[in-house]
Structures are given as C-alpha cells and as structure tokens.
C-alpha cells in the first residue's frame, strides 16, 4: 500500500486500514476504500454497521484509532480542528438528521457557512442564502424556522446549506430516508446532476435500494468493520457473496450477522 500510484490516477479520497472503536465496541476494523474523482459512490450496509462513522472520519468529526485517511494527496486524519477548516470547505456533508439549527431561520442557516468559511458579511450572506434556497425551490420558506417545516423540506434546505460553499466532494448521509418516493427521486436526480454537470464527487450512505441501483457508479458494501464488496451496480447485483445477496434482496434470514438482533 505504501507505493502510491502516480498523481493523475490517484483517487480523491483514500481510506487505508481505518479502525475505530467506541469504548469496547469495535465499529471499524480494517476499512480500506478509494473514491474516484467525479463518481457517485454508495456506501451500503446494515444499520449500526458504521456507515455514518466512516464518512465522519473524512472531515475530522471523528478521529481514527488506526489507519490513514487521505484527501487530494493530503493526509487528513492527523489534522487538528483549526487545520480542518479548509478541508471542510471543500468537502460538504448532508447529515442524516438534516441538522438545521433550530434557533435560526432557513436563510440564516444557509448563510452561516458563508459567513464563517468565506468571511461574508451577514447581509450579503443572507442575500446569497436566498439565492441558494431558490435552487432547491425553497425560497418562499427562507424566513421560516426548521421546526415549522416538513422533513423533506428540511432535507432540501440542509442540502442547500451544504452546497452553498460549492464543495468538491459532498457526503450524503441517508439523503432519501424518510422521504416520499417523489422527493426521494428528486434528490437522486440532484446528486446525479452534481456529479455530471459540475464534476462533484458524491459519497452517499443509503439503504434505499431504488437510489442505489439507479444512480450509483460504484457501491461499497460494509460488513463487520470492513469493505466486504466493492464494484459497479452490475457487479454488486451479480455478486456471489451470500451476505451481499441477502442485503440487496432484503431477506430477513441468511448468513448475515446483525448486531442487536
């Protein structure tokens, strides 16, 4: 692993042998994964397997116990909080819970990263925020508070907030979970458009089989703290691994061990 490929072929993101435990619970054991520039990579796996944990490492929200994480030729797992700011400008994350700040209106929510990361003035940031909300058809709700909106609206606003900084990589943590099929497919299309038109790399954590098999370029299946299978949609569909098959066919019984059940 130490002899790195030439820069041109080097993936944007590399996880190398990452391990992470919380207390005595070993979540990631030896996870290695490459993400190529401009692709839509799906991370799939059962609930609690460590998908959210995996992507949070990339932006320094969690620290590794062992292993290395590289972004665009730079090692990120050793950076300290202030040094992570430039990385967090380039990698956006849409959190699983939408996570808009309850005490701010949608416009203020979207304006916050503009003010903090780009040093924009409040007034200018708010104007800009409205423009971004318009892109996700949410401008009429700019002055509402998150608690007043539906889940789907919150999710869209959270995506708008993440996209304000025009990140090169966007991490989506279950962007379609809890959405109706129409809104879910709209989010799928948005993710696809991002990577097609603007060359944005997307890493999507999802259980949503429809989105997985309609927009993924590659799929990584995480099982017992490591990547168990990695490949294109067709490769994963044709996988002869019974654990992978059980997951993608959604069977309740099979060889897969699911902690907690």
């Amino acid at each position: 692993m130490s002899d790195a490929p030439p820069p041109a072929a080097r993936p944007v993101i590399e996880f190398r042998g990452v391990a992470k435990a919380f207390g005595d619970k070993q979540v990631l054991r030896d996870l290695s994964l490459d993400v190529r520039k401009g692709e839509v990579l799906f991370i799939i796996g059962t609930s609690g397997v460590g998908k959210s944990v995996t992507i949070k490492h990339l932006i320094g929200l969690l620290g590794v116990d062992a292993g290395e994480i590289w972004f665009d030729g730079k090692r990120v797992d050793t950076l300290r909080e202030p040094e992570l700011a430039p990385i967090r400008k380039r990698i956006g994350m849409v959190f699983q819970n939408s996570t808009l700040f309850d005490s701010m209106t949608l416009a203020e929510n979207v304006a916050l990263p503009l003010r903090k990361h780009q040093g924009m003035r409040q007034k200018k940031a708010l104007v800009e925020a409205r423009r971004r909300l318009d892109q996700v058809y949410m401008s009429e709700f700019a002055d509402r508070y998150p608690a007043e909106l539906s889940d789907g609206m919150r999710k869209r606003a959270a995506i708008a907030r993440t996209l304000t900084l025009q990140p090169e990589v966007v991490l989506f943590d279950e962007p379609t979970t809890g959405l109706d099929p129409v809104n879910a497919r709209r989010i799928d299309r948005l993710i696809r458009e991002l990577s097609g038109g603007q060359g944005v790399t997307s890493v999507v954590v999802s259980h949503d089989l429809t989105s997985i098999f309609s927009i993924a370029d590659r799929i990584a299946f995480i099982y017992q703290g490591a990547v168990r299978a990695l490949g294109s949609r067709d490769e994963i569909r044709a996988s002869d691994d019974p654990v992978v098959q059980q997951f993608i066919q959604g069977q309740s019984s099979g060889p897969m061990e699911t902690p907690g059940f």
């Binding site: 919380f22 949070k56 932006i59 929200l61 909080e81 700011a85 967090r88 400008k89 956006g92 994350m93 959190f95 699983q96 819970n97 996570t99 808009l100 700040f101 309850d102 005490s103 916050l112 990263p113 903090k116 990361h117 907030r161």
Partner: protein, 248 residues
C-alpha cells in the same frame, strides 16, 4: 480523570472564545432572559422561606439561652452575603439551569447539530457555551443579590412580627464589611461560571439518542451541584485565609 482534563479544556476554550468573539448576536440576552425567567420566582420564594425558617429557629434558640435578640440581624446579614445567598442560589441554578443547558446542548449533539456547526466552520464552544457562560455569570450575581435581599427582608420581618425585634436593630448594616460582600460576590461569579461549563461539557458528551440526552442531563445536575458545594468549601476556606479577621 480524563474527564476532568477535558472539562478543564472546555473551560479554557470558553475563556478563549470570550476573547475571540464571533458568537451569534442577541444570544447572550436571550440566554440571560431564559436563565432569569426560569429561576427568578423559584429563587425568590425558596430563599425567602429559608430566611424565615432560619431566623425563626435562631430566635427560638437565643430566647432559650440569653433572650438577647439584638445580634441576630447583624450576624444574619453577614452569613447571607458571604454564603447563604450565593450558595443557595448556586445550588438552585445548578439544577434548573444545569439541566436546561445539558438537555439543549445534548439534543443538539445527538441530532448531529454540533457536528453540523463544526462543518460550518464554527467552534461549538463559541456558539453554545460562551453565550450561556456570560449570561450565567451575570444572572447568578443578579439572582444572588435578589435572593439575598429577599432572604434578609423575610428574616427581618419574621424576627419583628414573631419575636418583637426592633426593625432598626435587625437591619443594622454597620458590622457588614467589604470582606463579606466580596467573598459572596466571588462565590456567585464562580458558581455562575462553573454551572454552564460543567453542564455544557456533559451536553457535548451526550451520545446515542434521547436516552443519551437524559443521561447527560442527570450528569449535569449532579456535576454542577457537586461543583457548587465543592467550590463553596474551597472558597470559604480560601476566604478565611485571605480575608481572615475581616470576616469575624
């Protein structure tokens, strides 16, 4: 032990955050309002009643022994300013304000809002703890003053109506000196600082789901109350050494 070091880290970054600035506008006022509103009546009633009970008991005892009640008010105000007012207020804020802070910050933690703040380029301590810290220090001093005054007046009225103590003699402030006032003030400021730091720390450590928030809230109440008691002890001993004779 590691927890204590992290707690100290939160305190240090709170102080650093105060100097750095960059907290949301209007947040301090909002927090002061929340703390004051939540606790003003509660503290006034509790300290008022405790003042009445204390004076009642003290006068009964004095009546049995010497029958001279002229010193009760003079001693009472010294105790109220140097200890009762700040410590009782602190204990009460530890439960109410501590629980509130831990629950709020804890639920932001488990719903990933704290992570989202970090992603937006904000230090969570700056946004979440610093405003509560400043508001809490100010409001603890204010509420201590208010609570102490009510306690003193309630005690005085009890002494007057139940035991016939002359109001002029009870409310004699001549033996109250700056040492008592400054010890009381130092205590109020210290508790006001400790409660949001301990509770915010507990909130930031919440994990899992709502269960984790409940756990953090309980830990915050216990932790802040213990902090108040411990600091009361330390400051009283320190005050005795530093101020010595003046407190007698």
């Amino acid at each position: 032990m590691r927890g204590l070091i992290e707690l100290w880290g939160v305190f240090v970054s709170t102080i650093a955050g105060m100097i750095r600035g960059g907290r949301p506008k209007g947040e301090i006022v909002r927090q002061m309002h929340a703390i004051g509103n939540k606790s003003m009546l509660f503290i006034a009633v509790t300290l008022g009643f405790i003042g009445m009970v204390m004076i009642y008991q003290a006068c009964m005892q004095f009546n049995r022994v010497t029958g001279d009640l002229s010193q009760v008010g003079v001693q009472f105000i010294r105790l109220v300013t140097s200890d009762f007012a700040p410590t009782l207020t602190g204990m009460m804020l530890a439960t109410r304000v501590g629980a509130g802070i831990a629950a709020e910050i804890g639920s932001m933690k488990v719903t990933e809002q704290v992570d989202a703040l970090r992603m937006s380029g904000v230090l969570p301590v700056d946004y979440l703890i610093v405003p509560r810290f400043i508001a809490s220090v100010v409001m603890t001093v204010v509420l201590t003053t208010l609570g102490g005054a009510i306690m003193y007046v309630a005690g005085g009225l009890t002494a007057h109506y139940q035991f016939g103590v002359n109001l002029k003699i009870f409310f004699d402030l001549s033996l109250l000196n700056p040492a008592h006032l400054s010890l009381g003030l130092v205590k109020a400021v210290t508790y006001g600082a400790a409660i949001p730091v301990v509770s915010g720390f507990c909130g930031l450590r919440a994990k899992g789901s709502s269960e984790g928030v409940g756990w953090a809230t309980t830990a915050a109440v216990i932790g802040s109350s213990l902090a108040v008691l411990l600091l009361d002890f330390i400051l009283s001993v320190a005050g005795f050494f530093v101020l010595g004779e003046a407190l007698r």
